[in-house]
């Protein structure tokens, strides 16, 4: 369904564009949870001078960078099982407290990946039936409990739009997504439907339309994507 004369981007460039743009959603003092994959790259683009607490569902607030060889401690890991360092002000707690934090509305922002998102803001990211079902882990709790939910993902997969009218994969959550960031554009999910608010200037609105299954409204205030 994609137009052949569209600009081509490498996988690395796509990840960078998405992560750079997502980093702009984080503000001073925020408590943020990041999923695995592109969401993890977001930390690379948050200014080091900014005070942000990254939360990990295994019981860790204040996750810093991956631990370097020699200082790796298998007793301090992130939710992906990687030994990490603790930033100033960090704390450890158990799974119960982790999910009180996540489910009770104490997190400002969640940034996570998805297999599909639909125009109502429902997302699917934990199962492709009979093929691959890693499980939901903490994703369902996180998406329901977080004040703001941002999905970051490639716009398409194997030529198919990942932004659909209605998800056909098992849902992670129903109508919880607030913002969708891809390498092509930014969509805001509103009661009126999906609104195209920003576009990567190397793409045209026609490119977005032809690569997006969901219906959307073009914002009267459409801007170039800040990257």
């Amino acid at each position: 369904m994609l137009l052949i004369n569209e600009p081509e981007l490498t996988k690395e460039k796509i990840r960078e564009i998405i992560a750079r743009r997502a980093a702009k959603e984080i503000s001073e003092g925020d408590v943020v949870t990041l999923g695995i994959g592109i969401p993890t790259d977001v930390t690379n683009y948050v200014p080091t001078s900014m005070h942000v607490m990254f939360q990990s569902e295994n019981g860790f607030l204040g996750v810093s960078k991956n631990a370097e060889d020699g200082s790796k401690d298998s007793r301090i890991i992130n939710a992906g099982g990687i030994p990490v360092e603790a930033r100033e002000g960090a704390c450890f707690y158990d799974s119960q407290m982790a999910f009180v934090m996540m489910r009770g509305g104490h997190l400002d922002t969640t940034i996570l990946g998805a297999l599909q998102v639909d125009e109502e803001g429902s997302l699917a990211n934990w199962s492709i039936p009979n093929k691959l079902t890693p499980g939901m882990g903490g994703a369902m709790d996180l998406v329901v409990g977080s004040k703001k939910v941002i999905v970051v993902m490639e716009h398409t997969s194997k030529g198919q739009s990942k932004i659909v009218k209605k998800c056909d994969l098992p849902l992670t959550a129903y109508k919880e997504v607030n913002l969708i960031i891809t390498e092509r554009c930014v969509f805001q999910v509103s009661k009126e439907g999906m609104i195209l608010t920003e576009i990567n200037p190397i793409f045209s609105i026609d490119d977005i339309q032809s690569s997006t299954e969901a219906d959307f409204i073009v914002s009267s205030n459409l801007k170039n994507m800040e990257i």
């Binding site: 990990s56 569902e57 295994n58 019981g59 860790f60 401690d73 298998s74 007793r75 301090i76 890991i77 939710a79 099982g81 450890f92 707690y93 158990d94 799974s95 119960q96 982790a98 999910f99 996540m102 489910r103 429902s122 009979n130 691959l132 079902t133 890693p134 499980g135 939901m136 882990g137 903490g138 994703a139 369902m140 709790d141 329901v144 409990g145 098992p170 849902l171 992670t172 959550a173 129903y174 109508k175």
Partner: protein, 216 residues
């Protein structure tokens, strides 16, 4: 005073067909010596309740690879391809539970509650065949408690009263599991006479037996 057991004596407490909670998040904070013994003894038909099935050749993952588990209640199996394979082939009965719901269901058992109400899973397959309730215009799913015959948990430091303290991210679901099983065995890295009361994470009242790493 809590009794200190050898790994072998502790695993004598686990029978074929038992329901077993196993602490740990991936391979962090896992009672690995106890799992190794369970794995060596080929105790099977287990109902295993654990956060994840780790990796194929480590801790909880080994029990899956050895086909010692009949039913699995967990939140994530993506790090162990063998778990997914056994699920798809129908060899293993898996109940996938959202992690927060998993923890709270165990807590409910430990606290003597009849269950919990949560918004997690509304509008997804998690809601199917479950009771729902509307409170202040919000819809909640009713989820039942989860308990077990025995919990095998990890502790960094334990004292002779059974109090447990932790280092780093090793606490994870060990603490809640200590409250929800008929018998609780803690595998600890170190035993001291008395942990400073300010540092105790699991009160000794929840612990039945202690197994020490150095005794193995």
């Amino acid at each position: 005073m809590k009794q200190v057991l050898s790994t072998k004596e502790a695993i004598d407490l686990v029978r074929d067909g038992a329901s077993v909670m196993v602490g740990g998040f991936l391979n962090c904070g896992v009672p690995d010596k106890l799992i190794d013994e369970l794995s060596d003894r080929k105790i099977s038909n287990l109902t295993m309740i654990c956060n994840d099935t780790s990796y194929p050749n480590t801790d909880k993952g080994k029990l899956i690879v050895n086909k010692q588990v009949k039913k699995l209640v967990t939140t994530h199996i993506g790090t162990n391809p063998e778990t997914g394979r056994q699920m798809n082939s129908g060899e293993l009965d898996i109940e996938l539970v959202p992690m927060g719901t998993f923890v709270e269901r165990i807590r409910a058992k430990g606290a003597g509650l009849g269950g919990i109400l949560t918004q997690t899973g509304i509008g997804t397959i998690i809601e199917e065949n479950k009771e729902t309730m509307t409170i202040d215009d919000k819809k909640f799913i009713f989820e039942k408690p989860i308990g077990a015959d025995i919990a095998l948990i990890y502790g960094t430091k334990v004292d002779k009263f059974g109090n447990v303290s932790y280092y780093g991210t090793t606490r994870n679901c060990n603490t809640v599991m200590a409250t929800a099983a008929d018998t609780v065995v803690v595998q600890a890295d170190e035993m001291v006479d008395c942990i400073d009361p300010n540092d105790v994470i699991i009160p000794g009242v929840f612990v039945d037996y202690i197994v020490l790493n150095e005794d193995n």
